[in-house]
């Protein structure tokens, strides 16, 4: 049994079948049955309807319904592209790396099904330049899929052509933003594009494009193989399915854990993660990496689904839970996070570029003991000016560490200033 909530792993299947990265082992475990099914017996529109009915939501962070995203591709469009977003760079997030490294065929099969559903013949997996290790096994898996005739001119013996290419980024957090990713893939600086036009209409090379996260793709084969009813047995009405939860920070057993959406945070931290080391207490948790609004310890009974996390004024996002124990200096943590966002700001828009720069300066002042009470208001003022005014969502995320730490731990700022 995977855990109390899940009999066996669906996404992290390699935890049950360790060598599933090998194509023969994957096939023996019903692998590529979903792709075969759609290619041989399902019209593309039915595939989209099935994924819509399953209620799969994007696992990269936004939680947008995947089937709906696919349906935005204009009917009969030529030169459609599928891009798999494997640019996993959010601090605290390390699930896609594990999926690509240990269960790569599940990702390939999901992307191939997605391609068929929207009429695409070319798939690009855009991954971090730093992911040389996971990409060796992923490339090996792709080569195996070509050798077995699963990919290629005649995918699975049908007349449907499917090509899949790996593309490496070169160290830029912003490229996880889907339009920045497209620019990067086209050989440009990774600046986000304005929308509209949306990628479904004008994406890669100005052609209709679907961009889905690695884990989103990994959800697709199960839906096709076992059906909507099976998929909806996991999770909640509005957040169906299972999810990989990344657990890091002050925790006894950090790592990736698969759970149905809607399981409580406390179960993840205390049961699966074994709680906080040295008998310490939880002070705060970042539920979706550094981009998310931190939550205090009294919210640990919240179910981990999109709606419940939004209800406590945070988000599920990529489900990357960073645990901070009672010894953590929250102002230090906020400064570290702001430093990250300052480093990764692409520089395209001034609210993010200037905002993160000045936030960083104010944090240095407060932390070095030179701050005044006015600095707390100044932090608020800067994030207020950034909110709603940045070109892309990533600039908005940069305000999260400031907003949430001031909301829950304002006294720690005051202590620094009064020292």
């Amino acid at each position: 049994m995977a855990n109390e909530y899940l009999k066996e792993h669906i996404l992290l299947r390699h935890k049950d079948i360790p060598n599933i990265g090998d194509i023969d082992v994957y096939i023996a475990d019903n692998g590529y049955v979903g792709l075969k099914k759609v290619l041989e017996s399902m019209p593309p529109a039915d595939v989209i309807e099935t994924v819509k009915a399953a209620g799969l939501r994007g696992r990269g962070g936004a939680g947008f319904p995947t089937g709906v995203k696919w349906s935005f591709i204009p009917k009969g469009a030529k030169d459609v592209y599928i891009v798999v977003n494997a640019d996993e760079s959010e601090p605290g997030t390390f699930k896609d790396r594990e999926l690509m490294e240990y269960n790569p065929h599940l990702v390939i099969e999901g992307a191939a099904i997605a391609a068929y559903a929207v009429g695409a013949h070319t798939i690009y997996i855009y991954g971090r330049g730093e992911f040389k290790g996971p990409f060796v096994t992923l490339q090996k898996a792709i080569n195996q899929a070509y050798e077995k005739g699963i990919l290629g001119e005649n995918a699975m013996g049908t007349d449907y052509a499917l090509d899949l290419h790996l593309h490496l980024g070169a160290g830029a957090y912003i490229c996880g933003e889907e339009t920045a990713l497209l620019n990067s893939l086209e050989g440009y600086r990774g600046y986000p594009r304005s929308r509209p036009p949306f990628p479904a209409v004008e994406g890669l090379y100005a052609k209709p494009t679907v961009i889905n996260n690695v884990e989103t793709m990994a959800n697709v084969p199960g839906i096709i193989r076992h059906g909507v009813e099976w998929y909806r047995r996991f999770g909640t009405e509005r957040s169906p399915g299972t999810k990989v939860f990344c657990l890091s920070g002050h925790i006894n057993r950090p790592g990736n854990y698969e759970l149905p959406l809607g399981a409580p945070i406390r179960y993840l931290i205390e049961e699966l993660g074994g709680g906080v080391p040295n008998g310490k207490k939880v002070k705060a948790v970042l539920p979706a990496g550094e981009s998310s609004l931190m939550i205090p310890a009294d919210k640990l009974d919240t179910p981990m689904d999109y709606e419940s996390m939004a209800a406590i004024k945070s988000m599920l996002g990529s489900a990357s839970f960073i645990v901070m124990d009672e010894t953590v200096d929250i102002v230090w943590a906020a400064e570290k996070m702001i430093h990250f966002f300052k480093h990764e700001s692409c520089g395209k828009c001034s609210p993010c570029r200037e905002g993160t720069f000045w936030l960083s300066k104010v944090y240095q002042r407060i932390r070095s003991g030179q701050g005044s009470m006015d600095d707390i208001d100044l932090l608020t003022k800067i994030v207020d000016q950034m909110t709603g005014n940045t070109f892309c969502q990533l600039g908005e995320f940069a305000t999260s560490p400031v907003k949430a730490s001031l909301l829950h731990f304002r006294d720690e700022y005051e202590q620094y200033i009064q020292k």
Binding site: S89, P91, E130, G169, A170, G187, P254, L286, I322
Partner: protein, 164 residues
């Protein structure tokens, strides 16, 4: 500037994309592979092969952190010190490593030219901190003794090479 092997690889890369420009990042990786950094000739070669203006190539290089315009040590050591890793002691681990390598707190290249040490943002191994990448290979759940052993192996290798 391209060797025969590289020329062939470049042709293979170009087949993956409908535009030459899309091959810019892969081509830069290829040009950087041999000596770990890009000189003016490399940039010119990439610009000509892909029919992209030299200034555009330079602008792209400046945007991405994995391309380098200066020589580095033989091996690149990247230690993640972002928040999740820092909570597991990565900042102290990094600071001790700089001292043992005789480097300032911001890192740099060792006197023997063997290592370049940098603190970098998240490498998606938060559950296995302290961690580092050496030449893109992951080393995880590190202690000082473990990293010393790894570095000693690199030193021994280098000595063997120079002796050979």
């Amino acid at each position: 500037m391209w060797s025969d092997v590289e020329q062939k690889e470049l042709e293979e890369i170009l087949k993956k994309y409908p535009t030459k420009r899309s091959a810019l990042l892969p081509a830069l990786y290829l040009a950087q592979r041999e000596k770990n950094w890009l000189d003016d000739d490399d940039i010119l070669a990439v610009a000509e092969a892909l029919e992209v203006p030299v200034t555009d190539v330079q602008a792209v290089i400046g945007f991405y952190t994995l391309f380098r315009r200066e020589p580095t040590g033989k091996h690149m050591i990247h230690v993640c010190t972002d928040l999740p890793c820092a909570l597991r002691g990565a900042e102290d681990f990094y600071a001790r490593l700089t001292r043992r390598l005789g480097l300032p707190s911001e890192g740099g290249t060792t006197a023997d030219g063997l290592f370049t040490l940098e603190a970098v943002p998240c490498l998606a191994a938060c559950d296995k901190a302290p961690m580092c990448q050496i030449d893109l290979q992951y080393y995880e759940n590190l202690t000082d003794e473990m990293i010393d052993t790894v570095l000693a192996q690199f030193r021994a290798e280098a000595q063997q090479e120079s002796g050979a």
